[in-house]
């Protein structure tokens, strides 16, 4: 019986339910889409790694220092280790393999780089007949001889290269090859570019002599991988390291994992927003349904329905909504996952959309999120419904009076907001960024909840102010709209809350990102004196490139920077691994070090420039000695010459020493190539023309790129842009859900005010004036939400910047344009949301409207 009532009511309010449904669908779609996507991606890479990993891979042992420095020379194993490994019992085949990551591929005709632009590696190696090769030749033949190369099909296609085409391989020198074969991935291509030479050529071109980078071992099945690994290592002696298939797989997953994790968290962020905002929409919908049905509920209670029954009837409706929403949401999530996979394909990570992995977890999470959120959100209105006294409900027209709860609400809201505001102030003043961060998080949460609770009260005041101009600007429609927006503050507050949350997050984040950009730009302006920055990817800047830059007309001098790793031992006896940047003599002219103590000139006398944090941790001051151990017995003791103030991202975490100083311990032959090269234009030289000159000079080095200061700033901007696009994505989503919320509220208001509308039309309000009244009310609600959201977002963003002021975020930038656009957008949101309700109100029959009960 009760179920029947619920079902009837559910279908009687299809339109309003549909709006809430969209909110549930969105949330569930994001959650389940994320799960399907990461399941699929994980399984794809599992298959890839499982099908290509050898049973045991033997390589050179990782040295303690410089292990992560890809600019260091590729480490190898001797040729005869293949023979030694092959002799280990249980080994069927042992294959010497050459694979390097530090080569650049280019098209010699255009001098354009060939290969992935997304950060995926370019792997160049020898062609071997491995039982588990990831690729197979689809046209042409395997490379034979010193000028033949095989390229993978995806890269060839992207670079428009084919059989007979030329490919340049750049390691230290340029070598041109002819493409004699095209190889296709047998499984999913993870996005890397692959090129193969014959073994002898690979050894000489890539490694500079006969050696291998690893020995791949395939067992005959008589022994476990673990057994093979330990036997092989025992047979080889020290200086080797081996990984079983399982270990290789784990390594591989770790490397793609971080990128997939980013995608996953971004998606879950979207899911969170839609859940939060959607929750408000659902609460609103059910509050309205209950308000509309006050009489019905009163009757139900009067004829003997218990509170529990009324509660249940509302909750059953919520359950139905949650189930329907989750089901559609999971289906939509599949679509979203396919879309994401296509997106990944477009940016070079190849996943197979036809092989979606939908685990049980997708359904469990999808239904849990959809149903639980919906039922929880409906609980508040349900409880409120059952508290209605039967007779009051029958008499009443369905607008509950809320005088007492207002005081309670005001107190709770004020306490929360004040507490949150206090936390934000504390956070802004906190010494340590970590403490500040925790306070900020808590403050954000409290102010958000406080604003949501205060919303209805603020609605009365803020809407009065916002609406004050309406009567003057829009005459009677304006006045009616203003009054209407204020007549049910709780509803206005709840409707605006959805928009407020979205905009607060967006504005907070955009204050943060613009502060990042501005701070970094300021730091570049204030501390970089060099005009040009030359980098060359993972290969480093080779001496040829340095020479080419030096010879370019208009270049006065260059500053080279090499990057080494070393163990630092402070006088307090503590040792830690540190990076050290070795710079040439004119570094101090091209960069203004943020000096806290000491003089930059001391670098020339063999001193170190260390960071403030390191100095503080070890109680160091200028003149104190630090023992620097570069490994292989190369040790020197260097005095502290400069302590650098923290807060400048260009220098934070870095230690500087002069290259001459470092050379005393590490001979030039063992030094890596330059990590980065700076150039200064000669006095009087045309800076722009010199840039063109540099670009021309570097054309034959496709791996190198040159930027002037403006270009360098663009680079920073580009890195922040990824975050910005996500923020805009969130904004879009928040807007969609907010529009639904406003539509919902307006639609209900129009229904509730049918008689009023009839009266207004009877005494001469034109359709146009009526529609304008509804549109203005909608705009006022949207603007109200936007104003609150902007206020919260600004408070959050500014606090965030203050928290990180010592971490390089020293300059606050308020993105005025974004804020103005957001406020403008909220007007558009209001107008959009009012479209249908206004149209409906305009079409109402005057007589029928007046006669409505």
């Amino acid at each position: 019986m009760l179920l029947k009532t619920s079902l009837r009511s559910f279908f009687a309010h299809k339109g309003r339910m549909a709006l809430s449904l969209v909110a549930v669908v969105l949330s569930v779609a994001f959650v389940s889409g994320t799960l399907v996507f990461s399941n699929t991606a994980t399984s794809t890479f599992d298959t890839l790694f499982a099908s290509t990993a050898s049973d045991v891979s033997v390589g050179p042992a990782e040295p303690e220092l410089g292990g992560k420095d890809t600019r260091a020379k590729t480490r190898t194993v001797p040729v005869d280790s293949v023979r030694k490994v092959a002799a280990v019992p249980g080994v069927k085949t042992a294959i010497g393999q050459v694979t390097v990551e530090n080569a650049t591929l280019a098209d010699p005709a255009t001098l354009k780089k060939v290969g992935p632009t997304t950060g995926a590696p370019t792997l160049v190696g020898n062609w071997v007949d491995s039982p588990r090769s990831p690729v197979e030749i689809t046209s042409g033949h395997v490379p034979q001889g010193p000028d033949q190369v095989v390229l993978d099909a995806d890269t060839a296609k992207k670079a428009k290269l084919g059989l007979g085409g030329k490919l340049r391989v750049i390691v230290n020198d340029n070598r041109d090859f002819t493409i004699v074969g095209i190889a296709a991935f047998k499984t999913t291509n993870p996005g890397a570019a692959l090129a193969f030479l014959d073994t002898a050529t690979a050894q000489s071109v890539l490694l500079g002599g006969p050696a291998y980078t690893s020995v791949e071992v395939y067992g005959d099945g008589s022994r476990s991988d673990e057994q093979l690994k330990s036997d092989a290592l025992a047979g080889l002696g020290a200086g080797f390291e081996a990984k079983t298939a399982a270990e290789q797989k784990a390594d591989g997953q770790k490397s793609v994992g971080s990128f997939l994790d980013f995608m996953k968290y971004a998606m879950l962020g979207f899911a969170g927003i839609s859940l939060l905002v959607g929750g408000f929409l659902i609460i609103n919908t059910f509050s309205m349904l209950v308000a509309q049905r006050t009489r019905e509920i009163g009757l139900l209670r009067a004829v003997g329905g218990s509170r529990g029954q009324v509660n249940r009837s509302v909750l059953v409706e919520a359950l139905l909504l949650g189930l329907a929403g989750s089901t559609i949401g999971i289906a939509a999530g599949l679509g979203l996952a396919v879309g994401l996979i296509q997106l990944m394909n477009a940016i070079g990570m190849h996943l197979d959309a036809s092989d979606l992995k939908i685990g049980a977890d997708v359904f469990v999470a999808g239904y849990a999120v959809g149903v639980v959120i919906t039922v929880l959100a409906a609980l508040v209105p349900a409880l409120r419904a059952s508290r209605i006294a039967p007779i009051a409900a029958l008499r009443d027209h369905g607008t509950p009076v809320e005088a007492r709860s207002n005081t309670v609400r005001a107190i709770i809201g004020l306490v929360l907001t004040a507490g949150g505001g206090g936390l934000l102030v504390l956070a802004a003043g906190a010494e340590k960024a970590a403490t500040g961060g925790r306070l900020l998080g808590l403050g954000v949460l409290l102010t958000l909840v406080g604003f949501v609770v205060l919303g209805p009260l603020l609605a009365t005041t803020v809407v009065r102010v916002l609406g004050a101009l309406l009567p003057t600007l829009f005459g009677p429609s304006g006045r009616l709209a203003q009054r209407n927006a204020m007549r049910n503050p709780r509803r206005t507050g709840a409707t605006a809350a959805a928009l407020m949350i979205g905009l607060a997050l967006v504005i907070g984040a955009s204050v943060f990102t613009s502060s990042v950009i501005k701070s970094t730009n300021n730091q570049i302006d204030s501390s970089v004196g060099a005009d040009y920055i030359v980098s060359a990817g993972p290969n480093g800047v080779s001496p040829e490139i340095v020479a080419a830059v030096r010879q370019t007309q208009g270049v006065d001098h260059t500053t080279e920077q090499k990057y080494l790793e070393a163990y630092f031992t402070a006088p307090d006896g503590k040792t830690e691994k540190n990076g050290i940047s070795a710079v040439t003599a004119r570094f101090t002219e091209d960069f203004r070090l943020p000096v806290k103590e000491g003089s930059p000139d001391s670098l020339k006398q063999g001193a170190l420039a260390i960071g403030e944090d390191y100095a503080k941790d070890h109680g160091l001051k200028v003149g104190d000695p630090i023992k620097v151990d570069y490994g292989n017995g190369r040790v020197q003791s260097l005095p502290v010459g400069v302590v650098m103030t923290k807060g400048n991202q260009l220098f934070d975490g870095n230690t500087f020493a002069s290259l001459d100083t470092v050379s005393k311990a590490v001979p030039a032959a063992d030094q890596p190539v330059d990590a980065i090269l700076f150039a200064k234009a000669a006095a009087g030289a045309d800076v722009a023309r010199t840039l063109t000159g540099l670009e021309d000079a570097l054309k034959q080095y496709p791996q190198a790129s040159v930027r002037d200061q403006a270009g360098y700033k663009d680079l920073v901007q580009e890195q922040v842009n990824t975050l910005l696009y996500m923020i805009y994505g969130l904004l879009g989503l928040a807007i969609v859900v907010a529009v639904l919320g406003v539509v919902n509220t307006l639609a209900l208001s129009v229904v509730e005010r049918t008689r009023e509308i009839g009266l207004l039309r009877a005494i001469g309000l034109s359709r146009r004036q009526l529609r304008r009244m509804i549109r203005l009310e909608s705009v006022v609600i949207a603007l109200f939400g936007a104003v609150l959201g902007t206020a919260l977002g600004l408070a959050w963003g500014i606090t965030g910047q203050q928290v990180l002021r010592t971490q390089g975020l020293e300059t606050l930038a308020v993105p005025t344009t974004t804020i103005l656009l957001t406020l403008g957008a909220s007007v558009v949101i209001g107008l959009l949301a009012a479209l249908v309700p206004a149209f409906r109100a305009g079409r109402m029959n005057v007589l029928a409207a007046i006669a409505t009960d």
Partner: protein
């Protein structure tokens, strides 16, 4: 009055001033089609005299409300023509009808006459606000004073009694000086004392302010305040009575009921 069936209607009197505020000729209103066709008004002719208080009476289902709605431009007719003043309203578009209601007609409904968000004064001036006209302050003061609401102008409708709310509605109808005011059972929801208050006020606005009022009612006491009562039955105008009293109207209604039941 039922004899004048002229197709062309001339509202001008020899004296110059129009003596008729509204009139209907051969007005028919029916719903549905074929077998299920229901005729609410059947070729009704009526003239509403200017500066007079006219009551339309009849049992429920007689078509009295439909007649008023059609006269007021709130409803469309199936056949026939209707004039308000010199303007023929049959065939007007919604936009023109809205403007006509705004500028020439005042309304008093049985209930829910006022916007809860506006105070009494704002409700009274609402039609002029909508039209973008400034109220005539002297007239407004006089109306407000006549209705006896001077001290309640800042009150919201929820702070007023039912009778006071109807008086505000009457003041609103009067304030814009419409050519004609239509009342749809304006005292239907009031107790007899408040009803008498509102009715005597309507009477005064006709006598003292020269207003034209048409009121639909089923209450003989209310009809007793009018100058003239029109009786409607089954969509046809069956009788009229000048200078009625509550008793004479009641008497007429009884006969009427008797005739119907016999």
């Amino acid at each position: 009055m039922t004899t004048a069936a002229a197709a062309v209607y001339d509202p001008q009197l020899p004296g110059g001033a129009p003596a008729v505020a509204a009139s209907a000729r051969q007005v028919t209103k029916s719903y549905g089609a074929g077998e299920t066709r229901v005729t609410a008004l059947d070729a009704v002719d009526v003239d509403i005299q200017r500066g007079r208080f006219t009551a339309i009476m009849g049992p429920s289902g007689s078509g009295k409300s439909t007649l008023m709605h059609c006269l007021a431009g709130l409803d469309t007719v199936t056949e026939g023509r209707i004039w308000i003043g010199e303007t023929e309203i049959t065939g007007l578009k919604d936009k023109q009808l809205t403007r006509l209601r705004r500028d020439k007609i005042g309304f008093i409904f049985q209930a829910f006459n006022l916007l809860p968000t506006l105070n009494a004064l704002e409700n009274i001036t609402l039609p002029m606000d909508i039209a973008g006209r400034k109220p005539d302050q002297a007239w407004l003061d006089r109306v407000v004073e006549t209705v006896g609401l001077s001290d309640r102008l800042r009150h919201r409708p929820t702070q007023l009694s039912g009778g006071q709310q109807q008086r505000v509605a009457v003041a609103r109808a009067l304030a814009a000086r419409p050519e004609i005011i239509f009342g749809d059972e304006p005292t239907g929801n009031l107790d007899s004392r408040s009803g008498a208050e509102v009715l005597s006020f309507l009477r005064r606005s006709v006598d003292e302010l020269g207003q034209t009022i048409v009121m639909v009612t089923h209450d003989p006491v209310a009809a007793g305040y009018a100058d003239r009562v029109l009786f409607l039955a089954d969509g046809v105008m069956v009788d009229e009575m000048h200078a009625p009293t509550a008793d004479s109207v009641l008497e007429r209604m009884r006969r009427f009921d008797g005739k119907r039941t016999s």
